[in-house]
């Protein structure tokens, strides 16, 4: 299907040029990275920009390295590049595990983590891991640079805190100070190439500190603060897990759609919580399934 709408195409060579283009179009331009969501939306007429600004030619967005005790993931870094990074696998294995569940190989070769955040669909696999690692989104506009915690990034389905004159430059994850382990539990209709019916990232820190974040079961991906508070400092037991499961309904607000009913999503989030907590704890102790093995 051809794209019915007309637009100009720009491929700036640096951030200043990109910012100038964004300013010139005053909200009428659309940023293009991997395009795996955007091209579909253009074909379906859901986006009608005057211009596309392709950010792939900007070398400042290509990095994937550690700076000042944090991993910085440039906005042009694809999910495949994350999966192939030993740094990501060793330091942020929950993000690594989540990246492997995104769509299919051919899409991951193109799709970027920053683009995933900007598309901001409720089922985005990239978000729960970033939330439990307390990641920040770095943006640049015409006048200022901003640093926005991922927990404040999503303002609604397909809506973010990004302003019309801004682009994402990088996603930054502070290196964990203590030993951590975790998992990304993704519920799909089948294994391989499916959007999440529900997703849960679990991060266990030494000392019984837990971080949890859900996606696809509410308008935005978010942390499960009530469950985290219940679990904090306590040794994991069957009784504690049972109590935590009763809080799931307060943390999420699933809907019924083409992929699952809200009742199924709620029930499975409780199952996912139990399995996720157990796997994260086992991995923290050096046991449990290898990263990348299905947890469900």
């Amino acid at each position: 299907m051809p794209i019915a709408i007309d637009f100009e195409y720009h491929k700036p060579k640096d951030l200043a040029e990109a910012a100038a283009l964004l300013a010139r179009y005053q909200g009428g331009a659309q940023l293009l990275a991997g395009g795996t969501d955007l091209i579909v939306w253009l074909k379906e007429g859901m986006k009608k920009p005057e211009a596309l600004i392709d950010v792939k030619g900007i070398p400042e967005l290509w990095h994937l390295d550690v700076k000042d005790d944090a991993l910085s993931i440039g906005a042009r870094v694809t999910f495949t590049e994350l999966i192939e990074s030993a740094l990501v696998k060793n330091e942020f294995p929950v993000l690594w595990e989540a990246a492997r569940t995104v769509a299919s190989c051919g899409v991951r070769n193109r799709a970027t983590l920053a683009g995933n955040l900007c598309s901001a669909v409720p089922s985005l696999d990239g978000a729960p891991a970033l939330l439990v690692y307390d990641a920040c989104v770095h943006t640049r506009g015409t006048v200022e640079e901003r640093e926005i915690p991922v927990s404040e990034w999503f303002t609604g389905p397909k809506r973010t805190a990004l302003l019309p004159d801004e682009l994402v430059t990088a996603v930054e994850l502070p290196l964990p100070k203590k030993a951590t382990a975790g998992c990304y539990v993704k519920l799909g209709r089948y294994q391989g190439e499916d959007l999440a019916q529900a997703g849960l990232a679990v991060l266990a820190e030494a000392g019984n500190v837990w971080k949890l974040a859900f996606c696809a079961v509410g308008p935005v991906a978010k942390r499960a603060g009530k469950i985290e508070a219940l679990l904090r400092g306590k040794k994991l037991s069957d009784a504690l897990i049972a109590k935590a499961k009763t809080l799931v309904a307060q943390e999420i607000s699933p809907i019924t759609d083409v992929r699952a009913s809200k009742e199924y999503r709620l029930h499975m989030c409780q199952v996912m919580l139990e399995r996720g907590l157990k796997v994260a704890q086992a991995r923290l102790l050096g046991k449990g399934p290898a990263y990348g093995e299905s947890v469900l």
Binding site: I3, D6, Y9, C105
Partner: protein, 153 residues
């Protein structure tokens, strides 16, 4: 809209073609450059029939604008079998792995990328590599078996 001339290396040969910004790569390959192996199936990145290599990685050419390929290198099924069918293709033929064949170009390219990166994949890794290539005829078994047979040789 501004019409531009893009240059790309297509199956080893430098080509130039005039495109509009909203031209999609798969359409330009098929309609303007005469390469017919990438097929338009779902046209939204789910089915994998439009798979091509772009700068060394498989991509969904229905989700790439032609202008994005400017200065790049595109390899399609025609390119990888320029010197006759590859071992992998022969293995597919020996097992009659395909029926209608619509998914075959995409399957061959996805499996080619897998074996480049991982010459001895486990079955689960083969399944994951092909998860984005849908086949409505075969149930996948003869496709996966043909890939496994090449790995054993």
């Amino acid at each position: 809209m501004t019409k531009t001339t893009i240059q790309l290396k297509l199956n080893g040969i430098q080509r130039r073609v005039d495109v509009e910004p909203n031209d999609v790569l798969v359409d330009v390959l098929r309609d303007k450059l005469g390469v017919k192996s990438p097929k338009v199936g779902c046209d939204r990145g789910d089915c994998g029939t439009c798979t091509v290599f772009l700068n060394g990685r498989t991509v969904r050419s229905c989700l790439v604008l032609a202008v994005e390929a400017d200065g790049g290198e595109v390899m399609t099924l025609e390119g990888i079998s320029q010197n006759g069918p590859t071992k992998l293709q022969k293995s597919f033929v020996e097992r009659s792995s395909f029926q209608c064949g619509f998914c075959a170009p995409g399957m061959v390219l996805s499996a080619t990328e897998l074996l480049q990166n991982n010459p001895h994949p486990r079955r689960a890794e083969i399944q994951e590599a092909l998860a984005g290539n849908l086949c409505r005829c075969t149930g996948y078994s003869p496709i996966i078996e043909a890939i496994e047979a090449v790995c054993k040789k």
